[in-house]
Symmetry: C2
Subunit: 317 residues, 2 copies
Amino acid sequence: MTVLILTSEEDVTADMVVARLHTAGAPVMRLNPADLPGKAVLSADYAHGDFDGHLSVNGHVLSMGGLRSVWVRRPGEPAAHAAHPSPWLTAETRQALFGMLYSAPARWMNHPRDADRARLKPWQLRVAHLSGFAVPPTVFTTSPRLAREFAEEHRDVVVKSASGPPPGEPGVALPTTLIGPDTDFSAVAAGPALLQRYVPKRADIRLTCVGQQLFAARKAADPGQVDGRYGDTGHPWEPVAVPGRIAAAVREYVALASLAYAAFDFAEDEEGVWWFLECNQGGQFGFVELETGQPISAAVAHWLAHCTADRRVPGRR
Amino acid sequence: MTVLILTSEEDVTADMVVARLHTAGAPVMRLNPADLPGKAVLSADYAHGDFDGHLSVNGHVLSMGGLRSVWVRRPGEPAAHAAHPSPWLTAETRQALFGMLYSAPARWMNHPRDADRARLKPWQLRVAHLSGFAVPPTVFTTSPRLAREFAEEHRDVVVKSASGPPPGEPGVALPTTLIGPDTDFSAVAAGPALLQRYVPKRADIRLTCVGQQLFAARKAADPGQVDGRYGDTGHPWEPVAVPGRIAAAVREYVALASLAYAAFDFAEDEEGVWWFLECNQGGQFGFVELETGQPISAAVAHWLAHCTADRRVPGRR
C-alpha cells in the first residue's frame, strides 16, 4: 500500500517525511500535478460496475487499489508544466487526476474539500467557539460604522487579512496591526475588514495536531509585541505541555472540521489563557521540529503509512 | 425565516422560483456576490462564544439567525463589481461572505463544497456505479496506447470534455463526438481524454431531482444521433414515469453526494435501459418545465421555504 504525496519539487518539509517513510520501508510516490500530462501518465477505467486507475511517474506505477493515503502538501496547478498550458487544459487535468483520486478509497491529509472549508476564517471562529476554545471577540464587516463601534467598545483592536497577503511577486507583507478607535474606518466600505480584540500576550503558542497526536511549542513574546511572524525577537520555540482542556478542544475542532492535520496558533495571555487565533490546515511544521526536536515529521509519516482507509464510500469526506 | 438566493441579475430560472416564493409569502433575499461590497453590506460578529451576522441589500436586512436556506444558482464572483476589483479583494470578500454563511445553520441547495466534488466526472461515474445505475464503460487517460486499446475493444466510442467547453468569449461548442478505432490517438499524451462506449439510443432522458421529488422527461432521438444538445431534432420533451430501480438509484446517488438538487442525463437504448451519462448538480430545469409543464420551480421553492435546517453543526456538510 503506497503513500502518494502531492507537492512541488522543492519542498524540504516533504523531504523530511519522505526520509521517514523510506526508513520505515513504506512505498511512496511523489507527484507534482503540474507534471501531468508529461512526466506523469494517468489512466482511470470505469467499467462493469467497478473502477481501476493507475498513475505512472518516472516509470513507477501506482494502482488505485494499492493507494493507502494521499498527502496534499504543496501541489502545483495541474498541467502547469505542459507544453501548451491553458486554463482549459488545467480544468481537464484536474478533472482526471482528482476525479480518479476521489474514486479511490484512500485516506487524505487533508481532503481538498475539507481544506477549502477550513481556510475560511469566519467559519474557523465559529468552530472554535463550538469546540470550547477562548476566542477574542472578532468582527468581519464592510460597514465603517460597525467597525468604528467595535473599536470603541474594545479599545485595543488589531486588523488583519482574512485570506492572507495579496498574491503575486514580489510578495507584500501584511502584518497584523494594532489600531485605536480614532482610526479612519471609511475605507472599510471598499473591502471587508477583520477586526479583533487585541490580546496582550506573554507568548505565542503553535500547536500541531497530527491525527490524534498533539505537539505544542511556546515562544516568549516581548511586551507589546503584536505579530511574532515578522522580525526575530531572539526567543526560541520550546516544547510545552498541552493543557487538558485545550487537548479536548483541539480534538473536537479537528473532528468537526474533518482534518487529519492542523496547525493552531494561540496567544497566551498574562493569566496563562490560550486564546484561539487561527487554525491553518496546511501550516508549516518544519521550523517547530527543527527548534524543539518534536517528532512531527515522524508522526505525519506514521499516519500516512499506517492509517486504515475507510473503504465504505470512496472519497467520501 | 428567509430564503437567500445567490445569483446574477439576469436569471430567468431564478425569477420563476422567486415568483413562487412570493406567492407562498416566503421572505426572499436575492444577492449577487459581485455586488459585495457596494450595493450589499455585510457584518459578522464572533463574540462571547456565539455568532451573529447580517446581510443588507437595498435597505433590506437579513439576520443569519433568520436564514432558512441558501440557493446557489449563478452567483457572480465576490467583489467583481467593486470600484477597484482585484484577486485579493475577491479573496477577502469570499472569506467574509462564505465564512459567515457557513457559520449559519442554514440548509443549502447545493452546498458549495458538495457542488465542487459533484462536478468531477470520474467521481460521478464511481458514485453512479455504487448507486446501481448502468454506466457505459469509460476511460480517462493520457496514454495514447490505452486510448487506442479502449477504442479497439468497444469499437463505437464517443469522446467528450470532462470540464466542459474552454472558457472565454466567444464560446466554443464541444459536442460529444463519435470516433472509431482508426482515430489517431497521439494527442491524448498532451491532455487527458474521456472516451466512453457509444450507447445507440432511442431517446434522451433528463431526470431532475429536488429533495425527494423526481421529474423525468424524455425526448425521442433520431437514429444515430450522438449529442442532442446541439441542433433541433423537432422532438419535444415529454413527461415520462421513473422506473422504480432508477428512482432508488437516484436517491442513493444524491445521498452519497449530499445533493439537494441534481439533474441527471441518461441515454435510453433500444431495450429501454437508461444509461447514466452524467449528473449536473447545477443543471438547468427551465426548458424542461416550459415544455413538459412539470412543476419543478414549485418544488425548488417548496424545498427552499419549508426545509428544516440541521441546527447541530453550522455549515457542516
